[in-house]
Symmetry: C2
Subunit: 422 residues, 2 copies
């Protein structure tokens, strides 16, 4: 039986969950994994604060250096969130040869490459399963179970808050703002919901996930990002009539040395497995060149689901001798980050209801190389709307076509442009 002394940085939702799982399943972990894991230190801001879990006050400290400088601490687990001071602490721990387990998507997305070089130098391990999709085991699965595949493509629902909002909007026909308020009341959305609804949380996770899938560093600045604030109840209604649902998808594709990584609201067919992923659930649908289509579905947040991933990483870190770095095995090719990707598009516009309008607008699409799959006119008179689904077109052609339409007297306003995947 190996004794392990753990230093925890942070005792919020995830930290408390980790303590609960380590206690509740301690006997099983001893028997099955041969590890006696003890929490030696917990870094907190305020030692006197009431905690959701019982904790021996003598292990609490407000000084990270006490933990980082304790030679008996084998492993540091970080759940402070945010870039600093988490990044500095993780780097220091790795420098000292202590392996690190973290749930911190921001630190890994921004500094994963630096931290992994640090880990390789000292021989420590760096583990971050919990940073993407919470309890869903996706990082280790790609690295250790799908390593015989080139991952060609993935589409993920990796932000629970926005999936909850879009689910409620779809099932109740409600407006974005009304549902957001309800989500805040229920604790599914933060008081400041920006990071979720503008897609920034998904962007961090997409950067990490595409780096793992494509074996190439995909820096944040190469990830396109658009949130869900402009999705309207009307778009959702029309989507359903056309046989689609709307999801905030994190999409990664690799074709030769071209990588695309983008977060945006997306039409996907109602029959697609991702469409059945409701409420705060997450899912990652991916395609490997050998395995074909796979989907992983589960809870993307919450104390215990996230703790499941963290404690699994802790066990792996204790059992691995050499550490586990995702840059090991990176292709490091000269990749090009594709901005002018190919997609289908849904476009909704208000038009002046007069003969010849449709022909005029269809002509403008055609002029820019965008061909149409279907057109529907909704309503007459002042409310007349045209709804287009295009065939596959390059993003830049689409943007230029819409730009050109701003001068078109037949169009009152272009209301929405949402990408379509199948």
């Amino acid at each position: 039986m190996r004794k392990v002394k753990l230093g925890l940085l942070g005792l919020g939702t995830v930290g408390s969950g980790v303590l609960k799982v380590l206690r509740q399943n301690a006997e099983m972990i001893k028997r099955s994994e041969g590890l006696d894991i003890n929490v030696g230190w917990v870094l907190v801001r305020d030692k006197s604060k009431k905690r959701a879990v019982e904790i021996d006050p003598s292990v609490l400290t407000t000084d990270a250096q006490v933990i980082l400088n304790d030679p008996e601490v084998d492993l540091v687990a970080e759940f402070m969130g945010g870039e600093e001071p988490a990044f500095t602490y993780i780097r220091e721990a790795l420098k000292k040869g202590k392996s690190v387990v973290t749930a911190n998507k921001e630190v890994i997305a921004k500094h994963g490459d630096v931290l992994e070089r640090e880990a390789e130098k000292s021989g420590a391990g760096l583990y971050f399963e919990a940073s993407v999709a919470g309890g869903i085991p996706i990082i280790k699965t790609i690295k250790r179970s799908l390593q015989a595949n080139h991952i060609l493509k993935f589409m993920g629902i990796i932000n629970g808050t926005t999936n909850y909002i879009l689910t409620r909007m779809s099932e109740e026909g409600s407006d974005f703002n009304a549902v957001l308020k309800e989500a805040q009341r229920l604790g599914y959305a933060e008081p400041d919901p920006t990071a979720d609804i503008e897609g920034l949380d998904a962007k961090f996770k997409l950067s990490i996930l595409s780096t793992i899938c494509f074996r190439n560093q995909v820096p944040l600045e190469n990830v396109y990002c658009e949130g869900i604030t402009k999705v309207t109840a009307e778009d959702i209604t029309y989507a359903q009539q056309l046989g689609y649902g709307i999801k905030l998808l994190a999409i990664g594709k690799k074709n030769g040395n071209r990588i695309e990584a983008r977060v945006h609201p997306t039409f996907i067919p109602l029959s697609h497995p991702l469409c059945a992923v409701r409420d705060v659930y997450n899912a990652i649908f991916l395609e490997g060149d050998a395995v074909g289509n796979l989907m992983f579905y589960g809870r993307g947040a919450g104390d215990l689901p996230t703790a499941s991933a963290v404690v699994s990483d802790i066990i792996t870190a204790c059992q691995n001798q050499g550490g586990y770095h995702h840059r090991t095995g990176m292709d490091q090719e000269d990749v090009i980050f594709e901005q002018n990707w190919v997609s289908r598009y849904y476009v909704r516009m208000l038009v002046y209801d007069r003969p010849g309008v449709l022909g005029e607008i269809a002509g403008l699409f055609g002029k820019h190389g965008v061909s149409l799959e279907s057109v529907i006119q909704k309503n007459r008179g002042d409310d007349a709307s045209l709804i287009f689904i295009t065939h596959e077109a390059h993003e830049q052609f689409m943007v230029r076509a819409l730009e050109d339409m701003k001068g078109c007297t037949a169009i009152s306003s272009i209301e929405s442009m949402i990408r379509v995947e199948r």
Copy 2:
């Protein structure tokens, strides 16, 4: 770069797929995993037979001993299928200290415990990811990513043939026999379909999966098994009207030291993620005490998906020094295999259409401790049917109630009894 010499036993669908993946992705496996994997030998029955893949004739042999006795062979991968001679060859390889990767569900379900003791003795590894759910990475995921959880329950669609048949029956209203013939024509069902439609294939996989999930050997004789041959188009229609789909589920539950493992047709709510798993796709839905609900979805068969799992195991075997045995970490508790499980039930019967019938039959259910959630009468006169959904009841009470009803003059025949899960 480590050079590895591989001996393959069998060159059918899976064997050919493994050769394809090893060739197609050889460069990536060298670069990312540091392994130069070479096929040194392939055991075949007939050297002169035309093959789906190109193969150097000098590596073909009809004599397994040539492979098992070659000291340069590091690792043996077996895809012959069936119990013998596969079991004997795998055991010999392990005895000689060669690690073994296999896709053979029958050998692992029947002899996994013996083989793992053999492997532990010699220090070789035994890997069988491909034996359950083909390309879906489930075995290693449970062992290496969900090891902080007690798995409480799982429900799996782990036989593609029966899922294809039930999907077609549901979507087209066709009869079992008509769809079976169509599935045979398309190659989704074998000329002799018994192992699939009677649930035996799923039974092998369930034995393996529940052994892994519950950390206790679950022998085949403790797995209840019922196939789909008695499912009728009428049952499927009524299921849909009641808000359910019918799937052949492999169910495992653990409660304290009681384990239940059963394969049978099952009603599940249309809103359940498993209900959206169509055609030949497989999926495993599970519940861990920390992670909550998870689902893994993908292709359960086919040359390349299965090869994805096999080649992943080959890479893992080459990288692991100490071997990887599922018995390591087994609880080995004194478990009780539950036969008298608790379930809800759907019962359909033809009755004589006269006043008081419903009360009489409801009384018989009640007499045996089975309470009813809903009753629907369909049709009148000679076609009068009663359709019951019960509350939770013990299997034995249900069986006794149905036995008792055989003497009931109000009932013309009991047509179906199908278990209901939520």
